[in-house]
Symmetry: C2
């Protein structure tokens, strides 16, 4: 494995850009949205080699040019359905490029050749996935889904930037629409546990950041309504007023 680009130098707080993709590598792998650090590829990059993306955490959150990818895969449990089903979108010519000996179940070709019915499928998560897709279509498809996700994220990032007690951790242009990471601003670090408690008293749980990053993380997946984001913004404003 060769690392073509990394943002480790600044603790993964941005998406590398303008890097060279060697034309002699087998494929280029990206994770389109970093759940832990809250960065996201906002556009579909061009690659001279097959581009493979794990889109678990931002699949169907915006229109995607599928033709730019050799393979897109992920777990459905963030934006599509309950945990228990995964999705793979693969270009036909990739199916014969497996060189390692693989257990039958692990080879995507097995599932393509069996119309995704090689094993007993996880019926309930698939049923809910279908209902979710119908809902997305009914609201206006990816254009509307993307508009809603942008609107939610803009609301929260605006409050993070305005509120004197908080600051965002990610370069503005690379901020994820899905996982919004922030910390207490300089000098206010000690207030973090109090804010978590305060948010909890308002019924907001699960906003503690990943242990690798600390701080806070608000995940605004497709299923998260604008009202929930507004409630968090109100909570942050109230908390700021309490500490003026």
């Amino acid at each position: 494995m060769e690392v073509v680009a990394s943002s480790e130098d600044r603790n993964f707080t941005y998406i590398p850009k303008g890097f060279d993709i060697p034309s002699d590598i087998d494929y280029l792998y990206i994770c389109s949205n970093n759940t832990i650090y809250g960065t996201e590829y906002k556009t579909d990059i061009d690659s001279p080699v097959p581009l493979i993306a794990d889109m678990s955490s931002n699949i169907l959150s915006r229109p995607v040019d599928v033709s730019k990818y050799a393979m897109i895969y992920g777990g459905a449990q963030k934006n599509l359905a309950p945990a228990g089903v995964t999705f793979v979108i693969i270009r036909n010519d990739m199916l014969d490029r497996v060189v390692r000996p693989l257990p039958t179940m692990m080879n995507v070709k097995t599932h393509v050749e069996n119309d995704s019915m090689f094993n007993t499928p996880p019926v309930f998560p698939i049923y809910v996935l279908r209902e979710t897709l119908k809902w997305m279509k009914s609201i206006g498809g990816m254009e509307e889904m993307y508009r809603r996700n942008q609107e939610k994220a803009a609301l929260l990032y605006a409050e993070i930037d305005r509120n004197s007690l908080f600051r965002g951790t990610v370069e503005k242009e690379d901020r994820s629409l899905m996982n919004i990471c922030f910390v207490m601003s300089e000098g206010n670090e000690a207030l973090a546990p109090e804010f978590l408690e305060f948010a909890k008293s308002k019924g907001m749980v699960g906003i503690k950041g990943h242990r690798l990053v600390g701080g806070f993380r608000a995940s605004c997946y497709n299923a998260c309504p604008k009202e929930s984001v507004e409630a968090l913004v109100a909570c942050m404003q109230e908390f700021e007023a309490m500490h003026k």
Copy 2:
């Protein structure tokens, strides 16, 4: 792979018995219940080598002496929960006997070391599994579950043996409590489609036998109530009366 015993000579209609298990093989594999042909191991066999059983289709249908097995595994979708979760019961000393290079996800050791939380677990099927286990415990555990399964199977096999239009396909002592296979009796083969239609008109579907066997198959898994078996028996009796 070495086949230690087979019932292929009589189209898999019985469970081989009294066969020798070579002491120099790595393990002995059995499928404890044959879903397609309707045969079932009624007792836990003794093996001089590690015994590995796929119990997908009769797990928790009767008390099992787990200590006789090196590994028991299966899909939960027949007796335990909705499709989407699998179970593995493995003896600790087996974990280090993997010799093939395996993808991380496919190695049971990965899941043991991570308390079954290596990946995002399929929450809904696991939740229903828990409810099912609580229900089994509440009715009296495996003793009562076994009694109910024996009662259901006895009802249906008695009708198959009594009814002049039908006959069972499996040796009596090896008949599965879970998958009850039968066909039209000699001379009445042509009535099969009509019986399927008649059963359907009574609301009974899915009793067509597996394409490898033909005829009929009534699956009486744990979740199937005695009333459903009684309904099928009544349907068979009515069908017989129509053709007297």
